[in-house]
Symmetry: C2
Subunit: 651 residues, 2 copies
């Protein structure tokens, strides 16, 4: 843990969260904010501890002086945990919402409870308290008349939206980080990831991602094992082909269903499964006409839903469709160019035409990357413009937009090759090329490039503070450490990581029967992915705030949608395979009808399986039911007591 600090009031505290204000923030605004943060809860403050960060060792002028360290007393953190409804393990092994009054009945609660909450939990509590710090009768932030306030407005959100608050981020704990990274990615032996430690350090959202990554990798192993002999011995017989595809389809469905159970188990164990979500605050970018929220009765901006729907359906949707069309158009040009290059090469094969063969692919890859980049930017802009009230709704709309476009970009050419050109050899080739290049590129872009940039920055910093110790194990003073972390890149959430897995899942499942080796490649990729992601989390990025997720959210849906599409494509591929065609040589109609019938059967089986496999394992269902039952019984007993007292007093 980082060394203790002494608050202005004299109590010592552990710094947990850093608040960075813009360098040109007015003094009165700073004083006001500090005051609000430290004020008593009864008078509307957050009752936290705060301390300005001192200058660095070799303090320079361009250093931002407005960095603040925020912490809290243990009592405050515990009452915050109760307010948030954090679930912790009870003495009897079940998970219960933490209550201060009952604190000694919780497992691992010892003494004052100063090691009861993990650092990530404390940071999450502080973030929540800061976020829900509301304006009272201020009409604007002191000294900043442009930052309007009204009673009930979240102060931090307003400061953020006006650029006065640059960032809030939780501090790393160097010791724990060292221990975590050692058990996570520095060991070379084959073992499971330390999920509980990851959750302890990064929170549930991150841990669920790594849990999913590990689960997904393990689940692909059987597919990979079965795929190898198909590839090695070139098994192309009708029956073997169908058996492989059928196995894949059932397997995809089963692993997705089983993941729900795994995820429920993890979330139960981590206490997020049955935690009630607090009322969600509007996003900081949300704007509208001031009015009264019909749910809370608080004054806040309101934006008519009809207007948002209009923006979604009349602007965003057509835009997305246009982009898809454009992408299709680019793809057609690519195929034309490729055909032209090929014909040129076949006409008169020279060294130069041999090189020319690669040109269309390279141009296409570059154009796709550029389009992806522009589209991502446009999607963010549009989703921002749609003016969603909640962060979750914003995220869902953004994910949907990006997902559809990426799916299209990655797979449209494969669909075209498979179903329009019907060239299975080319399909296999393209699949292999795409899979391998995208993997290599991803690993490079995702971890090594940022790491290299970070390393350069670190070196500068170290040179600045004139220390010549080794880079890895240097012990920096707190002020430098905080400034170093403030300069690190911000981790933007699990979005891109899930997207990558999603596309890999597509490569494995959509055309699995054509290229049985895909699963092997994905398994290999995922193993390195674990290491590069872990490395990235520990060494490249600022520590992210923990996110008490109970499941992987919209991604479960995305993966399931992919597995439905996989049923359709695989059925079609089987129907188109020469072996099957030979079997139905007398009538093409018969062939198609059979293919369609089997596809419908498979889809029906999929849906029935989804119903039959319960989403939550039995033993957890029982535990949840017991909690529910106990609270009902307690309520009943209380009411009966009240009623009997009432009847006594009325006599």
């Amino acid at each position: 843990m980082v060394q203790g600090l002494v608050d202005s009031s004299g109590s010592s505290f552990t710094p947990l969260v850093v608040v960075e204000l813009a360098p040109d923030t007015k003094e009165e605004a700073i004083a006001w904010l500090q005051n609000r943060i430290t004020d008593q809860q009864q008078s509307g403050g957050a009752e936290l501890l705060v301390e300005q960060l001192g200058p660095g060792v070799g303090a320079q002028e361009k250093e931002n002086p407005n960095m603040f360290l925020v912490g809290a007393t243990w009592q405050r953190l515990l009452s915050g945990a109760e307010e948030l409804g954090l679930f912790k393990e009870f003495n009897d092994g079940s998970m219960r919402a933490f209550t201060f009054a009952n604190k000694h009945n919780f497992k691992d609660f010892e003494g004052d409870g100063d090691s009861f909450l993990s650092m990530a939990e404390c940071q999450y509590i502080i973030k929540h308290e800061l976020d829900t710090l509301r304006a009272r009768d201020e009409t604007h932030v002191p000294g900043h008349t442009e930052a309007k306030l009204y009673p009930g407005k979240s102060i931090v959100r307003r400061l953020q939206s006006k650029g006065i608050l640059i960032q809030i981020f939780p501090l790393h704990d160097q010791e724990e980080l060292k221990r975590l990274s050692f058990s996570w990615y520095k060991k070379v032996k084959l073992s499971f990831q330390p999920l509980d430690a990851i959750r302890h350090y990064y929170g549930e959202g991150q841990a669920l991602y790594f849990g999913f990554l590990e689960y997904f990798t393990l689940a692909l192993v059987p597919m990979a094992l079965i795929g190898v002999p198909y590839y090695l011995f070139d098994w192309e017989g009708y029956d073997k082909y169908v058996v492989f595809a059928a196995f894949n389809l059932v397997w995809c469905t089963v692993i997705l269903e089983l993941w729900k159970r795994c995820s429920a188990s993890l979330a139960y164990q981590w206490g997020t499964l049955s935690r009630k979500k607090a009322f969600e605050e509007p996003r900081s970018g949300f704007h509208g006409v001031l009015g009264f929220n019909p749910v809370t009765g608080r004054e806040e901006p309101l934006y008519p839903n009809a207007k948002r729907q209009m923006r979604i359906y009349l602007v965003s949707l057509p835009f997305v469709l246009l982009c898809l069309y454009l992408s299709l158009y680019v793809m057609m040009i690519y195929f034309l160019m490729e055909g032209w290059a090929l014909s040129l090469h076949e006409e008169d094969p020279t060294f130069w035409t041999g090189i020319l063969l690669f040109v269309p692919s390279i141009i296409y890859a570059v154009v796709i990357e550029i389009m992806n980049f522009i589209y991502r930017y446009a999607a963010e802009f549009l989703t921002e413009w749609e003016n969603h009230r909640l962060e979750s709704s914003y995220q869902n709309h953004l994910v949907l937009k990006v997902l559809v476009f990426n799916f299209f970009n990655c797979f449209a050419s494969l669909f075209y090759i498979a179903f329009v050109m019907q060239d299975m050899v080319l399909l296999r080739q393209s699949l292999a090329t795409l899979l391998i290049t995208s993997q290599i590129l991803n690993q490079f872009m995702e971890a090594f490039l940022p790491y290299w940039l970070q390393r350069r920055r670190n070196k500068k910093m170290i040179r600045k503070i004139q220390k010549a110790a080794t880079l890895q194990d240097i012990e920096l003073p707190l002020a430098e450490q905080v400034r170093l972390e403030a300069d690190m890149s911000t981790y933007l959430g699990t979005f891109d990581d899930y997207l990558e897995l999603f596309l890999l899942f597509g490569y494995v499942s959509l055309f699995s029967c054509v290229y049985p080796l895909a699963a092997v490649l994905v398994v290999l990729n995922n193993i390195t992915e674990v290491y590069s992601d872990a490395f990235k989390m520990c060494r490249v990025f600022k520590r992210p705030f923990s996110d008490p997720a109970a499941n992987i959210g919209v991604w479960q849906l995305a993966f399931e949608a992919m597995s439905v599409i996989a049923v359709v494509t695989n059925s079609a591929l089987i129907g188109m395979s020469p072996q099957v065609k030979a079997y139905f040589s007398e009538s093409e109609t018969q062939l198609i009808l059979w293919t369609v019938a089997i596809e419908h059967g498979l889809l029906a089986v999929k849906f029935i399986l989804t119903f039959l496999i319960p989403n939550v394992p039995k033993h957890i269902q029982i535990k949840l039911a017991r909690l529910e039952f106990e609270s009902l019984e307690a309520l009943k007993k209380k009411k009966m007591l009240e009623a009997s007292e009432l009847s006594k007093s009325s006599r």
Copy 2:
């Protein structure tokens, strides 16, 4: 309201529920049961009032003397309402769980609150109290050593399973019934059903059924209106055909989705939407080895889930499949017979061969009815044997079994005609015949036959008590009225009513594009159905206990499954129509591929629509969120107060 009675303790009460014990019940058992029912709640009784029913006017020996009337004081009923978590309208128009302490803030609560709960609610509360009356240290029912008890066992369930308790039923309220039946089915003018009054008298489950029936009828009107010109002018053009089918498909999806919203609105208004379900007791027929329930910790029979699953998958499932196969086999014999009769008639057409043409249909119809009857019996037996712990799970398994078989029986022949014989004229004929005959038969079997039987019984009763007043408006003394109701048939729930609607929905949606008049027939049927069902509820059956349902449950799923199947069949029918075939005259493969592509598109649109249309209307979502928010805020405030008190005392 029925006239008041005087309890043995001297307090007068309104009889609400009748408990009928077997005539050979031992005196000591009766005394024990009465004692337990009237005992204080603190000592484990139900604190209800009970009174034995006196002999009828012309008392005869075969009359059962062991009929008991159960009622309760208003205070007891109100505390029961709180225990059950009944939702009532609050002063501010929102629905809140009733609490005794807060009673004066509820709308319509006046004076002592003796008209605050409806009679149906009171009866439901009494039933719940009787059901949860548990054995203490008795090892068996006094006087009946075969009826074993153990601490915590529901007494009523044990008495029921041992045949000591014949029935429990709620009493009709003749006056209110007269008013209800007048506004419901005795008026001939076109109007909506008095759903609130139905709910008031019969409870939410019944009212939702009638609400659904009405909604379904209204929703079919546009389809019927569009269908009429298609039928009259014999529109068979390619485009018109497709337009009609496409409209139907979208319409089916939309109405099912909108029904969810309607149902949520009704359930909110009736207070069942957000009511927490009480912990469900095991069914009375459930048996197993005594053990401790992992949820409640109570002693109760346990039955391993694995064993139940084995019974379901190794016995019930094969049995159902066998029955389906048998039904298929019978259908094939029918088609053979029909072909044979037709060939005989064409060879040498005489009057007798003309009659012979009808013989196969009649035999088939009779055989199907017999098979349905036997299957229903077998399904009940098997589901009982599967030994489900909960009534709801028993019902779901029974519904599923009966549904599949009925679907098969009703539609298999139509599927065969449509897709194997591809005879659209015959399909249209069969559809019309099936629809019309099944409607007439149903209405007859469902309402008029039981009514006639009931009337005969009533007449006997009336003759017995020597009264010559008119049958309709006779005012019977209480004892006779109770005995009369005890003799009425028991209403077995909405199962058969929903099943009928489900099959009608199948006729409308599965082959709608072949027979556009189907919707018209179904609308007409539904209008008469409202009347016959209403009549049946009011005059034929015992009053059922109300069932606080929040939605139509498994039937929503069944209707949605039907609408998915409808997409497949309609797409296939359109693909097979001569008009479309002519359009794709050059290539059958093209035709099929297009059909399949469009079908997949329609299915995708269906699923997207399901996601896009929220299941609960916005204004109710807001009300629910507000309640949730208020309870969270109240909790937070309470905890903050506690924490501040704690910190004060610790200083």
